[in-house]
C-alpha cells in the first residue's frame, strides 16, 4: 500500500467517524429538548465499526442494521437533512417520517433498514445475499448486530443456511459488552462471539473494533472472501457504547469509571486523530476546522428537519400496500 492512499483513507475514515459522532450528539440533544419523538439509541463509541466496514462497500452492497442504526446509514453515505427529518418524523425524512430512528432505511444506498427486532436483520441480509448470488451480481451483504442478538435462534438459522449455500454475507457482531443492561458474561455461555459459527464451519475473526484501520482491514478480507464465493464470514468487533442503551437508560449496570476509562484509553476517534497527527497527515488546526465544518452541517440539517412539514394525516393510509 502506498502512502498516498493510506493518507486519503485515514482522512476519509476520520471524517466519517466525526460525522457519526456529531450526528449522534446532536440527536441526543434534540431528544432531550423533546424535539425528536420516540426512542433513540446512540452509536457513540462504536463509530469505528460502521466506518471501517463500510469503507470498502459499494452503494449496491446491502446492509441491515439494528435499533442502533444511525451510524451505519451515515457511514453508508446517508445525508444528514433526510436523516434528521426521519428522526423528527417529518415528511422530508428518508422514510417520509414513517420509520423514525429505529427503521431508517435507504434503498439507493443499499441500507435495508435499521430494525427494531433484535436479531431480525441477519436473515434479511442473508436474503439479500441470496438474491445477489441468484442474480450473479457479485455484491455482498452485511448484517450488523449486537452481542445481545448473537443469542437469538434465528441468527443460527441464518448461519446454517448461509454456509450451506455459500451465500456472500458478512455477519458483523458489534460486541459492545452489554445487551441493554445485561453484561455479556451474564447472558452468554460462550462469550467468544467470533466462535459462534464454528459448528457451521464459518470462519470467525475477533477484531479490535475501536481501531478503525483494523476494522477496515478485517472488512476488506471479509468482502474479498464473499466476493470470491467462499460463503459467509463472521467478524466480532470488540467495541463499547458510551451512552445508555437508549436515552432513558440510567446505565446503573456499569460504573462511570468504566465508561470514562474506555473513553480515555480506547476512543476510536482519538485513535485515528493521533495517527493523523503522528503521521503528519494533518494538524490540530485542520482537525478543528473539520470538526467545525461537520458541526455546521449538523446544525443546518437539524434546522432543516425542524422546519420540515409534518406528514399529512392521509399518509397513515399510504404505503400500507402497493396499489396494483
Amino acid at each position: 500500500m502506498t502512502k498516498q492512499p493510506t493518507k486519503k483513507i485515514l482522512q476519509e475514515l476520520h471524517l466519517k467517524m466525526v460525522r457519526i459522532r456529531r450526528f449522534e450528539e446532536e440527536a441526543g440533544r434534540l431528544m432531550e429538548d423533546a424535539k425528536i419523538p420516540g426512542a433513540l439509541h446512540l452509536y457513540v463509541g462504536q463509530e469505528a465499526v460502521a466506518s471501517g466496514v463500510m469503507q470498502n462497500l459499494n452503494d449496491a452492497d446491502q446492509i441491515t442494521s439494528t435499533h442502533r442504526g444511525h451510524g451505519h446509514l451515515v457511514a453508508k453515505g446517508g445525508e444528514f437533512p433526510q436523516m434528521y427529518a426521519e428522526l423528527y418524523g417529518k415528511a422530508t425524512g428518508y422514510c417520509k417520517g414513517k420509520g423514525g430512528s429505529m427503521h431508517v432505511s435507504n434503498m439507493d444506498l443499499g441500507m435495508l433498514g435499521a430494525n427494531g427486532i433484535v436479531g431480525g436483520g441477519p436473515p434479511i441480509a442473508m436474503g439479500a445475499a441470496f438474491a445477489n448470488q441468484f442474480l450473479e451480481t457479485k455484491n455482498v451483504s452485511v448484517a450488523f448486530f449486537g452481542d445481545g442478538a448473537s443469542n437469538q435462534g434465528q441468527v443460527y438459522e441464518a448461519f446454517n443456511m448461509a454456509e450451506l449455500w455459500k451465500l456472500p454475507i458478512i455477519y458483523v457482531i458489534e460486541n459492545n459488552q452489554y445487551a441493554m443492561g445485561t453484561a455479556l458474561k451474564r447472558s452468554s455461555a460462550q462469550p467468544d462471539l467470533h466462535r459462534r459459527g464454528e459448528s457451521f464451519a464459518i470462519t470467525g475473526l475477533q477484531v479490535d473494533g475501536m481501531d478503525v484501520m483494523a476494522v477496515k482491514a478485517a472488512g476488506e478480507k471479509a468482502i474479498a472472501h464473499c466476493r470470491d464465493g467462499k460463503g459467509p464470514i463472521i467478524l466480532e468487533m470488540m467495541t463499547y457504547r458510551y451512552r445508555g442503551h437508549s436515552m432513558s437508560d440510567p446505565a446503573k449496570y456499569r460504573t462511570k469509571e468504566e465508561v470514562a476509562k474506555v473513553r480515555k484509553e480506547r476512543d476510536p476517534i482519538d485513535h485515528v486523530r493521533d495517527m493523523l497527527l503522528d503521521l503528519k497527515i494533518s494538524d490540530e488546526v485542520a482537525l478543528k476546522a473539520i470538526d467545525k465544518e461537520v458541526k455546521a452541517i449538523v446544525t443546518e440539517a437539524a434546522e432543516y428537519a425542524q422546519h420540515s412539514p409534518e406528514p399529512d394525516p392521509s399518509e397513515l393510509y399510504t404505503d400500507v400496500l402497493i396499489e396494483v
Partner: protein, 410 residues
C-alpha cells in the same frame, strides 16, 4: 390362517387410492417385509409391504384399478400349509368396493327415503365472470392447479423461485411442487432446512433484493415460528420505509382443519393474518380459484398469504387452461346467485355449504325456503375486505350448528 390385505390409509386425508401395480403374482411366496404392491395415494406412490409370511393366494383388485376405497380387501395371503379353498372363502367375504361406485347409491337411497324435499338444482359452480368465453377448461385437482400456477409464473418471470421444506427432491410434502425441480432446476426450486423463522426472513430479504420468492410452509402450523418475519418484516416494511421497500413475496401452504392430528396441526390462520395491515390474504376454494389467485399473488408487488386447504388438494374442478387466466385479489365470487339469504364463506366452508344443498342432508332443516336461495360467496380479499367478510362469516358459523342440531333431532 388367511390374511386379508386391505387398501391401506397411507395419509391422513386418503380416502381412496389406486393399486398401481402388483409386484408379486398369485401363488408366489411372500416374506414379511417384501414389497408386494405399489399404491398411489393422493400424495405419492407408496410401497405396500407384506406383514406376514405366506403365499399370495388371490389378488382381488387388479393392477391399475383406481378409486379403491380405504379398507377394501385387495388380496388374500395364505399361511403355508393352508388349504387353497380358504382363500376362496375369504374372497366371497370380500367385496371389492371402488369408492366412487359406492358413494352415490347410498346417498341416493337416503334421498329416496326422505319425505318430499324441495327440488334444489345442484349445479356446478358457474365459471367466474372473468373467464373469457371459449376458454378451454380442463379437469384438475386443486393440487395440480396450484402446481400449474407456479410453473406458469416461473416460466413467465425468471425472478420467481420456490423455497421451502421438501419442495424440491421430495416433490412437495403434499406433492404440490411435483415436477418443478425437473423443469426449473435446483437454483429455482430449493429445499430448505426445517427453520421457518430463518428461511422466511431469507425470503423477505430476497424480495427486498429484487427477487419474487414463493415460500412454502409445509403447513401453516409451522408458520407460527416465522410470524415475526411475516408481520414485522414482510408486512410492515413498506410502510416504515415510506414506500421504498416492497416485499413481492408469496407465503403459501396448507391451512385449516385436518383430520385427527390434534390442535397443533389443525388450525386456521385466516383471521390472524387478515388483521395485519400490509398483508394480502387469499384462501381459495376451487381449482380455478387456486390457480387464478396464486398466479395473481405471485405477480402482486405486496406480500400475499395464500392459505390452501389439505382437504381440498385432491378435489377436482374445471380449471381454465390459459396461462393468462388470473383471479383478481380482493373480489368476492358468487358461487350461486339468489334473492333472499346471503351465506358468506371461504375455502372448504364453501364446500360444506354446497353440501347442504344435497337432498340427503336436507332432512329436518327448518328453513328450506331460505336455503332455496343459498348464496355461497367465496371471499378473496385484501385485509379490509377480509375483515368484512369474516364478520359475515362468523354470523354464518353461528347458524351452522343450528342446522346440525335440527338434523340430529329430526
Amino acid at each position: 390362517m388367511t390374511v386379508q390385505i386391505l387398501m391401506p390409509a397411507l395419509s391422513p386425508t386418503m380416502t381412496e387410492g389406486t393399486v398401481a401395480r402388483w409386484l408379486k403374482a398369485e401363488g408366489e411366496t411372500v416374506t414379511s417385509g417384501d414389497i408386494i404392491a405399489e399404491i398411489e395415494t393422493d400424495k405419492a406412490t407408496m410401497e405396500l409391504e407384506a406383514i406376514d409370511d405366506g403365499i399370495l393366494a388371490k389378488i382381488l383388485i387388479a393392477s391399475g384399478t383406481e378409486g379403491v376405497a380405504v379398507n377394501t380387501p385387495i388380496a388374500v395371503i395364505l399361511e403355508e400349509g393352508d388349504d387353497a379353498s380358504a382363500a376362496d372363502a375369504a374372497v366371497t367375504a370380500a367385496t371389492p368396493t371402488p369408492a366412487a361406485v359406492v358413494a352415490e347409491p347410498v346417498a341416493q337411497a337416503a334421498a329416496e327415503a326422505l319425505p318430499s324435499v324441495p327440488a334444489v338444482p345442484v349445479t356446478v359452480a358457474p365459471a367466474a365472470e372473468n373467464i373469457p368465453t371459449g376458454t378451454e377448461m380442463v379437469s384438475q385437482t386443486v393440487r395440480e392447479a396450484l402446481r400449474d400456477a407456479m410453473a406458469e409464473e416461473m416460466r413467465r418471470d425468471g425472478d420467481v423461485f420456490l423455497m421451502g421444506e421438501e419442495v424440491a427432491e421430495y416433490q412437495g410434502a403434499y406433492k404440490i411442487s411435483e415436477g418443478l425441480l425437473e423443469e426449473f432446476g435446483g437454483k429455482r426450486v430449493i429445499d430448505t432446512p426445517i427453520t421457518e423463522h430463518g428461511f422466511t426472513g431469507l425470503g423477505v430479504g430476497a424480495a427486498f433484493g429484487g427477487l419474487k420468492p414463493i415460500v412454502e410452509f409445509m403447513t401453516f402450523n409451522f408458520a407460527m415460528q416465522a410470524m415475526d418475519h411475516l408481520i414485522n418484516s414482510a408486512a410492515k416494511t413498506l410502510y416504515m420505509s415510506g414506500g421504498q421497500m416492497g416485499c413481492p413475496a408469496v407465503f403459501r401452504g396448507a391451512n385449516g382443519a385436518a383430520a385427527g392430528v390434534a390442535a397443533q396441526h389443525s388450525q386456521c390462520y385466516a383471521s390472524w393474518f387478515a388483521h395485519v395491515p400490509g398483508l394480502k390474504v387469499v384462501s381459495p376454494y376451487s381449482g380455478e380459484d387456486a390457480k387464478g389467485l396464486l398466479k395473481s399473488a405471485i405477480r402482486d408487488p405486496n406480500p400475499v398469504i395464500v392459505l390452501e386447504n389439505e382437504i381440498l388438494y385432491g378435489q377436482s374442478f374445471e380449471v381454465p387452461d390459459d396461462p393468462d387466466f388470473l383471479v383478481p385479489i380482493g373480489a368476492a365470487k358468487i358461487e350461486r346467485p339468489g334473492t333472499d339469504v346471503t351465506i358468506v364463506a371461504f375455502a372448504p366452508v364453501i364446500h360444506d355449504q354446497r353440501q347442504i344443498q344435497k337432498p340427503a342432508l336436507y332432512r329436518g332443516i327448518a328453513v328450506p325456503d331460505d336455503l332455496d336461495s343459498l348464496v355461497a360467496e367465496g371471499y378473496r380479499g385484501d385485509s379490509r375486505r377480509a375483515r368484512q367478510a369474516f364478520l359475515r362469516t362468523r354470523i354464518n358459523r353461528v347458524r351452522t350448528p343450528l342446522i346440525n342440531q335440527n338434523r340430529a333431532t329430526a
